[in-house]
């Protein structure tokens, strides 16, 4: 059985939700601790949402220098699938595994909503079970989710197909080009602000036209990782 690690930092909130999503997708969830070295032999890693180190300094900045991040950065550079969700995305940009930065929402308020996303890249380790153009609904909840990068970086992301998700209908935080998530050129590292791990089980997900709280669009993130691990095994 594939083993997917979920890192807990001081102030992580959604680590157990991410572990649950991993289990519902059919993998073994392995709890990893920020202060440890070594990755316990996991095949992939999720950096979960929350407020690591109370968002002191900058969101994700201190967590990016945690001991375990040295091993995660090395493994990511060797091709291991790494998914950063919300604060995890902020950690990935602070660790320079993904370009750009995340700043306070342009309207200045925390936002919490079920958000429609358009899948723009369905060939990453975390999105290969989607089709390009798919519209999915997963929860979004952040205060500093505005994605920014200089015009050169934005042009490269767009030109090389590294934008993975775009916000549809409404840009909830002022992100450049409506960007909700991006990947690295190899496609093994993906970061996004919305929370797929909160849309993995009927009865606990976003509302859909079919039924209240029936949305499970987030599950494919985790089954994608399993598919990608099987393909490389």
């Amino acid at each position: 059985m594939a083993r997917i690690g979920v890192v807990t930092f001081p102030g992580s909130l959604d680590d157990r939700d991410a572990q649950r999503a991993v289990r519902l997708a059919g993998a073994e969830a392995v709890s990893l601790w920020h202060a440890d070295r070594g990755l316990s032999g996991v095949d992939a890693v999720v950096l979960p949402g929350g407020f690591s180190y109370g968002d002191y300094l900058r969101c994700g900045a201190i967590a990016a220098h945690a001991p375990i991040m040295r091993d995660i950065i090395a493994a990511a550079n060797d091709g291991m699938p790494v998914l950063g969700i919300c604060n995890g995305f902020q950690i990935l940009v602070e660790a320079h595994l993904l370009p750009g930065g995340l700043v306070r929402n342009d309207h200045g308020s925390f936002v919490c909503r079920d958000q429609t996303l358009i899948v723009e890249n369905a060939s990453t380790a975390w999105t290969n079970q989607f089709e390009v153009g798919d519209e999915i609904i997963i929860p979004l909840k952040n205060g500093e989710g505005g994605y920014i990068a200089d015009t050169e970086t934005l042009a490269r992301l767009e030109g090389e197909g590294l934008v993975v998700f775009r916000y549809k209908d409404v840009n909830p935080n002022g992100s450049c080009n409506d960007i909700a998530g991006i990947t690295n050129p190899r496609g093994n590292v993906v970061g996004l602000m919305p929370h797929p791990e909160h849309a993995v089980e009927p009865g606990f997900g976003p509302d859909t036209p079919a039924a209240m709280r029936s949305g499970v669009d987030g599950l494919k993130f985790f089954t994608s990782a399993l598919t990608s691990l099987l393909a490389t095994a």
Binding site: L57, V93, V103, R104, G108, I148, G174
Partner: protein, 99 residues
């Protein structure tokens, strides 16, 4: 012990929603002459040895590595507190003379 100051500001071309909120509060208080507010950070690093040019260079490197994120922020100043013409505009005296 000597103190090295690092000042960091959000990049000028980026929106600073926190500063914008403060500017709005000033306007609501009737202070309409202030057209903008931007909020930055000031770090004070207490050093256990005299501040040499090498120490300042090291702090500049640390500022680039950790204290600031150059994607979204600029390091606007790195200096030893009280060593240069630092001026405390609130009390009207040089900072080195205040304590």
């Amino acid at each position: 012990m000597p103190v090295v100051v690092v000042e960091v500001m959000p990049k000028p071309e980026l929106l600073d929603p926190a500063g914008k909120a403060v500017a709005g509060a000033l306007a609501r208080l009737g202070h309409t002459q202030y057209e903008g507010v931007r909020i930055g950070k000031r770090f004070e690093l207490t050093v256990s040895k005299p501040v040499t040019p090498e120490v300042l260079d090291e702090v500049r490197a640390l500022a680039e590595e950790l204290l600031a994120n150059l994607v979204i922020e600029d390091i606007v100043a790195v200096y030893e507190s009280g060593a240069e013409d630092e001026f405390d505009e609130f009390s009207g005296v040089a900072a080195g003379e205040t304590h």
